[in-house]
Amino acid sequence: MITSAAVAIAEARIGRRGESVYSGRARTIIERSYLAFRSSTWIVVATGFLEPVLYLVSFGFGVGKLIGKIEVAPGHFVSYAAFIAPALLATSAMNGAIYDATWNVFFKLRFDRVYQGMLATSLGPLDVALGEIGWALLRGMLYAIAFMSILGGVGLITTPWALLAIPCAVLISFGFAAVGMAVTTYMKSFEQMNLINIVLLPMFLFSGSFYPLSIYPGWLQAFIKVLPLWHGVALIRSVSLGIFSAALIPHILYFVVMIIFGLYFTTRRLTLLFMR
């Protein structure tokens, strides 16, 4: 048996858990996305980021003029712009992640044979899943950081704790990217892909982004609280105001579960689609 460098690298992992699906090289998939991204246009990236900024300007500073302070926690009042800013940050993390994890992945799955190429090497499906989700998450993170700087610039960051919103945004991006890619692996046509957008927009509008959930009847509140974006909004809203309590734990767990489910199903589907 000839031991090439590639073989030595693969054999070094023998006996590790999950060796049949994972080779510990998800980063090379991210590197591939970076190489492809270098030659793509920045405009697409910029527009994705602009969306929440526009909402902030029109709703926060426009509609906000008509609205007084909003009570976010007992005895804790903030301006309307400060109320919606964390929600827009969460949404921006979601959008950034979703874009790459859904549409871009869909093209690669159905039209390119990129994943077949990757899976013919010593990579496993979990490497591909993690790498693609990781790249989507980077985009979500980039949007979140850019949006944070804008918030800082217009004076909407009032406590250093707000910086913790960034790791929270990463968590949110990760969750959405993982589930987004998993869902995309089941999609067969453009019509089905559009369903994703049809779900995301109302979720954004009704997840307590623009007004407190208390406006809704009990049953609707309960429903919204099952949706992921509400957890993201609630998490970032608390953190960016420096309000910490055990109530944040379920929000964090929600995303951890999304990540685990997303990775599991993506890996499984890649295996079914390309290795069966």
Binding site: M1, I2, R25, T28, L35, A120
Partner: protein, 312 residues
């Protein structure tokens, strides 16, 4: 031919693959030895790609046994694939990347260092005669260039086994010869080649040993020369009497040769001395519209084994 166990890189026993109820590979046995060039020859749908993908651990078998380098592809995928260079039937180059980046990132997928890859890239660009196209996007390449790049890419990890699924389909004769030359060189370097093809000349040129497949089953297995010797005579006489008369004269002609095969457009007469058969035809007062004496080929073997021509 080496036959020791230790020399077997790939061994299959009773290997089967079903897609639903459809049997694509039907309980086949074979083994591939170190350093040889092994070919799967068969018409469309014979199961060639299916077998290649099972070996490359990107398709799971339905039943039977297979070991690749002593390991089971069903549960040691990444490890096995580290030994393989795979050239799929349909190119799956990364359209978003340049020629060089395609080679580079493939090396990265195998976990190779940048230094190692960058040195290798120069060698491979030269090997594939793509140095001038190094910065071109893949979509700018011709079909032949893409094929050469796919082969170069498969070599980035210095694989022990190179798997080529119809490496030259769609290429012009010149491009095919260039590719064959490249494959010969690899073989000389000790790389084991696994090739599928439905081109006879390719099989004859490239393969030490051939497995003739049809509908998922093995029809025969030997060296190209061995197959010809075993299943057909040295030479063939092809005669045409026009499509209506072919069947009519066949009985009379049958007596003149070892075996006769009547196709819709021509009659194939197998004999060790075909010139002589032609003379006798003329003597007997029959006058074919056209006649051709040629050496027997794998095409004739295939016809003999399956009653069908390989490429319709």
């Amino acid at each position: 031919m080496p036959t020791e166990k230790s020399d077997e890189l790939i061994t299959a026993k009773g290997l089967s693959k079903l897609y639903g109820d459809f049997v694509a590979v039907n309980g086949i046995d074979f083994s591939v030895h170190k350093g040889e060039s092994f070919g799967f020859l068969g018409p469309n749908g014979a199961g060639k790609s299916t077998i290649m993908r099972i070996i490359a651990a990107t398709l799971t078998r339905t039943s039977g046994e297979i070991t690749v380098l002593g390991k089971d592809p069903a549960d040691r995928g990444p490890e096995i694939r580290a030994h393989l260079g795979v050239v799929p039937q349909q190119d799956n180059l990364d359209q978003a990347l340049s020629v060089t980046d395609n080679l580079y990132i493939y090396g990265r997928y195998f976990g190779l260092s940048r230094k190692f890859i960058n040195a290798k890239i120069e060698e491979l660009l030269d090997f594939a005669q793509l140095t001038e196209k190094r910065d071109a996007k893949v979509e700018m390449l011709s079909g032949g260039m893409k094929r050469r790049l796919t082969i170069a890419r498969a070599l980035i990890s210095e694989p022990e086994i190179l798997m080529l699924d119809e490496p030259t389909t769609g290429l012009d004769p010149q491009a095919r010869h260039i590719l064959w030359d490249r494959l010969f060189r690899l073989k000389e370097q000790g790389v084991t080649l696994l090739i599928t093809t439905h081109y006879m000349d390719e099989a004859e040129q490239l393969c030490d040993r051939l497995m003739v497949l049809d509908k998922g089953s093995i029809m025969a297995e030997d060296s190209p020369a061995g197959l010809i010797k075993k299943y057909v005579t040295k030479e063939v006489l092809e005669v045409r009497f026009g499509s209506e008369r072919n069947a009519e004269v066949s009985e009379q002609l049958g007596a003149l040769c070892a075996r006769i095969e009547v196709l819709p457009d021509r009659i194939l007469m197998y004999a060790d001395d075909a010139e002589k058969v032609l003379e006798e035809i003329h003597k007997s007062g029959l006058h074919p519209v056209t006649s051709l004496v040629r050496r027997s080929s794998l095409e004739d073997v295939f016809l003999r084994l399956t009653g069908r021509t390989l490429v319709e």
